[in-house]
């Protein structure tokens, strides 16, 4: 349950932080989140999951815009990969950034 709450905390932090400061918020907040996480929250799982969830929520908000479908197609042709892969790459970037930061954060806090 604590891990679940921590996922929600991190999702909120990642969402608002990214809105305020851009992508750099994801690893910074993940580092802080892993450092501060309750021991029972399994931060190596909950911090990356929360970050991905936060970015996923922002993506879901983007998806409500009328031009999202067209945008997805354009990005798919630009890169060029299948449109879902672009969305996957976005969440993958959040995962890599937050996982790396969480690994560091949890390693440091055991002291």
């Amino acid at each position: 349950m604590v891990a679940f709450y921590w996922v929600l905390v991190m999702a909120n932090a990642a969402g608002w932080g990214t809105l305020a400061a851009g992508w750099i918020a994801a690893p910074v907040l993940a580092l802080a989140g892993a450092w501060l996480a309750p021991k029972s929250s399994r931060p190596l799982l909950s911090v990356p999951a929360g970050t991905v969830l936060g970015w996923g929520a922002l993506l879901a908000l983007d998806a409500r815009a009328p031009g999202f479908r067209a945008l997805l197609g354009v990005l798919g042709r630009l890169l060029p990969v299948r449109p879902p892969v672009v969305a996957g790459a976005t969440l993958g970037l959040a995962l890599v950034l937050s996982l790396g930061a969480a690994l560091i954060g949890t390693a440091l806090r055991r002291r």
Partner: protein, 832 residues
């Protein structure tokens, strides 16, 4: 896992993530800023929306301005004063086309490298050698800053910058994201750079160089006949007394001995092509042209004057045009298209008049061989035995980082820029260099209340010369080929390279407006233009240019208008995409006649089959038709065989020497009547061919190449819509943002012309009825927004492809706007 190992693993994973977030990956920009879901590229889906009511407070505005965006994405601007209207227009254009604004003006200024890096260095060098930045510096220096035109340009700039200040990170156009750049602030001079760029597209003419190149291969007498001053088919803009096409073919002298004295000219042409690069207007692609026509009330079904216009330019996404409607009390109420980057409606209508333009294509630039003091690094040039200093400009090309990529020293004399061609220095005089317009004519045209006021307002217009057609609610129609035409010494011809060491060869002035080609309310009841020679030389032989477009489109327009004494708005619309071809009407009967007359046809079953197929063709270029594919292949083969003497000596593909001067097809049509002319001989064969031999060979080869490319005769791939496509490319040539392989009802020399790569064509189509209330219908290939995620990125395209026009709404007030057609409303207020 030990803490150390875990931390090390974390560092590695994080470093990998940060690396792709901050460093370009292949051709992709850093993925962090690109993909993050708050302000990254995903936000463009939201930026594409124009819906809802908003208020913008900006110190740029003097008072309140209401902007209603209609369901086509077109802003209708209601302001209390003109400058606020231009500010709001600048704001709206920047919101929709910010990257286009910057890219276009940087291309003209030669500073694209600062946006896209070294890949644009060649293009920038081309632009700077033309001296546009120098020209605009002078324009701004000499400008009367209190004039309405300069004030409008400044207000527009304030509007553009107000958007840049107002925009959120989410609004950053996708192109900037892909390039990893931020938009530069807009300066008023940019509007004039844009006009200079348009002048190059429409008013550059290298007829003299092309003719000299032909002379170097077949001698001057043949070159003069192949690239004549006067078109052999006359369907002039200024109507003749006898309202019909006049054919004035003259015998073509046989190919003569190459004239070796014009090697400088060959080099000059090559040099010009190198220097102007992709900017060159003349590519032989007649899809770069335009149509316009007007019908007097006596010939219209509604008894109101009608006007149609469709300028043909390079097709791009976003479009070269931006549609807008500006209202300022009872002083200004104009709608139509603006050039993104300039604040005036260039083609459109107001409550009293409608107007459109086609390019005149007159010869307004001449080349001079210069005598200089040093062949490598000249500082002076000689005129009448006196040495005069050259103006030297040191131009640095910078990368986005500010790093200097290259430095050039450019030279100018009193005529224009100097280019070194082999060992010779050439200069180019151009009417553009004598001072470009500051936009005053457009400011006045937008307010004109009658044909008379329009003609008066446009009288001082200079570059590029345009066939301006206008109609008003009183039923008056008029056309005038308006622009600055140089007056040359001696015979007055501009299609020959001049000696620059004598001032006697300099232009002596400009043609007065009363001598411009002109017609007002002709008895035939209609006027038209399609880039043909404006005046029949039998009426007035004054030199205005050379190597004119063949008048196929003009012939077709006039055929349609002569045949219809009850013209309707819908007929005007249909004419704009009419699939008929005067060119096919002229050539096909000759090809068929040869087939019927010649005994030799029996020896060529393939030619016989080609003739059978062409005979069954109705000479229309609709998408289902299978005839145009074969006809175009036969014409290609025919041209190649007839003009083989003009072909360059073997050289590396793509080299400058590979450029073949190609006479207009009207010349080829004239040659058809001279069956024994030496030009019919194919020099690559030992036989002495005559016309019928070449026609039969071309028919057979045309069929062969069509079958090889499109399959057996009559197969699905022969359909014009499958074989030929329009291609509307994005400004950065990104296929993902382009609209490619579009089937179109258009072909070479049809009224909706399209040829070659299909990248040029009708860039705006408009029909206006000047009744008690002015009504207008229009579309263009693209959409109002430059954001590919917007529904308005290419929403006009289906109508454009189908030849439909949208009914334009132009409410007089924001309050009277029909609610069902409102997409969004923005109110601008002054303040911080």
């Amino acid at each position: 896992m030990s803490r150390f190992l875990q931390a090390a693993a974390g560092v590695l994973v994080l470093a990998a993530g940060v690396a792709v977030a901050v460093r370009p990956v292949g051709s992709l920009p850093p993925l962090g800023a690109l993909l993050e879901p708050a302000g990254g590229v995903w936000a463009l889906g939201r930026a594409g929306s124009l819906g809802g009511d908003r208020t913008v407070t900006s110190p740029a505005f003097a008072g309140e301005v209401k902007v209603v965006v209609d369901d086509r994405g077109v802003p209708h601007i209601y302001a209390a004063n003109e400058l606020d209207a231009y500010r709001a227009l600048g704001f709206a254009v920047a919101r929709d086309r910010l990257f286009q604004l910057e890219a276009q003006t940087r291309a003209a200024a030669g500073t694209l490298t600062e946006l896209v890096g070294p890949r644009a260095l060649t293009s920038d060098r081309d632009a700077r050698r033309l001296g546009f930045a120098r020209l605009v510096e002078r324009t701004m220096r000499d400008a009367d800053t209190t004039s309405p035109a300069v004030q409008s340009v400044k207000a527009y700039a304030e509007g553009v910058n107000a958007w840049i200040d107002h925009m959120r990170p989410a609004d950053l156009p996708i192109e900037y994201r892909l390039l990893g750049r931020q938009p530069a602030r807009w300066v008023p001079a940019n509007s004039y750079l844009l006009l200079a760029r348009m002048a190059l597209t429409l008013a550059y003419n290298d007829a003299s160089l092309v003719k000299a190149k032909a002379a170097s291969r077949v001698g001057w007498p043949a070159a003069e006949a192949l690239f004549p001053v006067n078109a052999p088919i006359q369907e002039p803009i200024q109507p003749n007394l006898v309202d019909s096409t006049r054919f004035g073919f003259v015998p073509i002298p046989p190919p003569g001995a190459p004239d070796t004295s014009v090697t400088t000219a060959i080099g000059a042409l090559n040099g010009a092509h190198r220097t102007l690069g992709s900017f060159l207007r003349w590519t032989g692609d007649e899809a770069l042209g335009s149509n316009n026509w007007a019908v007097a009330p006596a010939r219209s079904a509604s008894r109101h004057a009608l006007l149609a216009g469709d300028p043909h330019l390079e097709l791009t996404l976003p479009s070269i045009w931006y549609q807008a409607h500006l209202v300022v009390g009872d002083r200004l109420d104009v709608a139509g298209v603006t050039l993104p980057g300039a604040p005036w409606v260039v083609i459109g209508f107001n409550r009293h008049i409608a107007w459109s333009m086609t390019n005149t294509g007159s010869d307004v630039n001449d080349f001079y061989r210069e005598t200089v003091d040093d062949s490598l690094h000249p500082a002076r040039y000689q005129v009448d035995g006196t040495w005069k200093p050259l103006e030297l400009r040191v131009e640095a090309y910078r990368a986005p980082s500010g790093l200097i990529l290259a430095v050039d020293t450019l030279r100018f004399n009193h005529r224009g820029p100097l280019w070194k061609v082999d060992s010779t220095w050439m200069s180019m005089a151009w009417t553009l260099y004598q001072g470009s317009s500051n936009g005053a004519e457009f400011v006045a045209i937008d307010r004109a209340a009658s044909v008379g006021e329009f003609l008066e307002s446009s009288a001082t217009y200079a570059v590029p010369a345009q066939n301006m057609i206008v109609a008003d609610r009183q039923g008056t129609i008029a056309i005038r080929s308006t622009g600055r035409y140089p007056v040359r010494p001696g015979p007055g011809r501009g299609d020959l390279i001049q000696d620059g060491s004598s001032s006697a060869n300099d232009w002596t002035g400009a043609l007065p407006v009363e001598f411009y080609p002109f017609s007002l309310n002709p008895t035939r009841g209609f006027l038209s233009s399609a880039n043909q020679q404006p005046v029949d030389p039998a009426v007035n032989a004054r030199f205005m240019g050379a190597n004119w477009y063949s008048p196929w489109r003009a012939m077709r327009i006039n055929t349609l208008l002569r045949a219809d004494s009850q013209v309707t708005v819908d007929a005007m619309r249909r004419f704009q995409t009419d699939p008929g071809s005067a060119r096919a009407d002229m050539f096909v009967p000759t090809l068929l006649r040869v087939g019927a007359d010649s005994l030799r046809i029996a020896t060529s079953p393939r030619a016989k089959e080609a003739i059978r197929l062409l005979a069954a063709w109705n000479r229309q270029y609709d998408v289902q038709n299978t005839g145009p594919v074969l006809f175009e292949a036969v014409m290609t083969e025919l041209s190649r065989r007839v003009w083989d003497e003009l072909a360059p000596p073997p050289g590396p593909p793509g080299s400058d020497e590979a450029v073949t001067p190609r006479p207009a097809e009207a010349i080829l049509l004239g040659l058809m009547a001279d069956s024994a002319n030496a030009w019919w001989d194919d020099r690559r064969t030992p036989l002495a061919e005559r016309r019928d031999d070449i026609l039969i060979a071309s028919l057979a080869a045309g069929l062969d190449s069509t079958v090889a490319r499109h399959g057996p005769a009559g197969s699905e791939r022969w359909r014009w819509g499958n074989a030929y496509h329009a291609n509307i490319r994005h400004l950065l040539r990104l296929p993902a943002l382009s609209a490619l392989d579009l089937p179109v009802q258009s072909g070479p020399s049809t009224l909706s012309p399209s040829s070659g790569a299909g990248t040029s064509g009708a860039s705006w189509r408009m029909v206006v009825e000047l009744g008690p209330q002015v009504s207008a219908w229009a579309t263009y290939p693209g959409g109002q927004s430059g954001n590919p995620a917007s529904t308005h990125y290419r929403d006009f395209l289906p109508a454009w492809l189908a030849g439909r026009l949208d009914s334009l709404i132009v409410p007089r007030t924001a309050e009277s706007f029909p609610a069902g057609r409102i997409e969004g409303r923005t109110t601008f207020r002054t303040g911080r």
